[in-house]
Symmetry: C2
């Protein structure tokens, strides 16, 4: 009998921003695998389960052990924070299965990714087309990241930056956008959205406090129409082009 592997998005952190399906999947599992911080975020769901926590950068171990426990016939939940697709565990599990030619029954359970969690805390910054870019250069060369930033900035996407772990690269990325859009472009910074230590700041590209940004910060840069109003970041959808508001 083949086991089941559920790759579960647990959302940004607070239990209230989980989906019902995510909670049910974890409750029904026998084995729970995940980065130790995420395991901490779902403590309330773990009673009676075999829990396999892993350190940062042990993603391959997490995927391997999840597949192998499922192959043993066990019901496994592999947890990702946010959504398992977006810089989460889903791609790696499928990539490994394809490479090895093994397959287990997999269900991916979507979750509220950081772009949406941060956006909700800022008001309405994602009202138009947007691009999501990972600022970690662990797996992608930095020139490739900056090229992508430039293209998206020039095409006037709202930009969402994940994982600003390297302050030099983060500064370079914001500089690229500033050179295209100018100093006054609104920027929203959200640290620990829906998690302990949550903080929200709204600033402008010419005034970003680099020291405040850490790896738990999601950065949203507005497009050419984004504006701020009473502590909110707002990207119009375009109604005022067509209707009298």
């Amino acid at each position: 009998m083949r086991g089941r592997l559920r790759i579960v998005g647990i959302g940004p952190g607070d239990p209230s921003v989980r989906t019902f399906r995510a909670v049910e999947a974890i409750k029904e599992s026998e084995v729970v695998v995940g980065y130790e911080t995420y395991i901490g975020l779902i403590k309330d769901l773990l009673e009676g389960k075999e829990v396999i926590p892993a350190k940062m950068r042990q993603e391959i171990f997490r995927a391997e052990i999840s597949i192998s426990k499922a192959l043993e016939g066990r019901k496994v939940a592999l947890v990702s924070d946010g959504d398992p697709n977006v810089y989460g565990m889903a791609p790696l599990v499928f990539e490994l299965m394809a490479k090895r030619g093994v397959e287990v029954d997999v269900e991916v359970i979507p979750g509220v990714t950081a772009a949406l969690a941060a956006a909700a805390k800022l008001g309405a910054p994602l009202g138009s087309d947007f691009a999501v870019i990972n600022l970690s250069d662990l797996l992608t060369p930095r020139e490739a990241i900056l090229r992508r930033v430039k293209a998206a900035a020039e095409a006037d996407f709202v930009l969402v930056f994940y994982n600003p772990i390297d302050s030099g690269l983060t500064k370079a990325a914001l500089e690229v956008v500033r050179s295209v859009r100018g100093d006054s472009t609104p920027v929203g910074l959200v640290k620990n959205a829906y998690r302990q230590g949550e903080e929200v700041r709204i600033t402008a590209l010419g005034e970003v406090d680099m020291d405040w940004i850490d790896m738990r910060t999601t950065i949203i840069v507005g497009n050419s129409e984004t504006f701020t109003w009473r502590g909110y970041l707002i990207t119009p959808r375009g109604y005022s082009n067509k209707y009298r508001l």
Copy 2:
């Protein structure tokens, strides 16, 4: 006493993919406003409430009535499917408040947007940077949309297309990507994700059946590294560049 307006993302459709916070917010509200289809998706939560359904394209009415009911001191939930930021109701509510200079207590409650819902049904297509583009030209000129598609295709973003309501524009957008990435680029089509009538198809840019795509279809086009395997769409995160998998 000022009322409260919660702009609630109800997720893709199935109750299991709602967040707990979304359900709680609707339950605590006195007035529920939304497009009639979305009202239908939350029937189970509406007992005893004043329900104000609206037709398609009545977004301004929905935002207006929500703000005005909140100004009367009532607790209002304005529902969006998916996430309220992403082509949802949040931007319009804030834009109207800013234009009128009125303000009510607002909370935006994030939800699982179609990109994430469709991705989960396809496996792991959003493993790398991605861009979300609305293919409706109701509020954006079609040249602007196609320019954005081209820039994102050239920068090798995974592309997620929402609202393919116009088959001519949809065809043109896919043609732009095809001219950059080639015929064999994998494409995932998901109709009614987590909703009645759900259907999933994986194809290639050179073989897309335009007649199958309707306004309820989310289209995900892979980047240059995306591949298909046993009915899944997989975009590697880049581990194989760095580690032996």
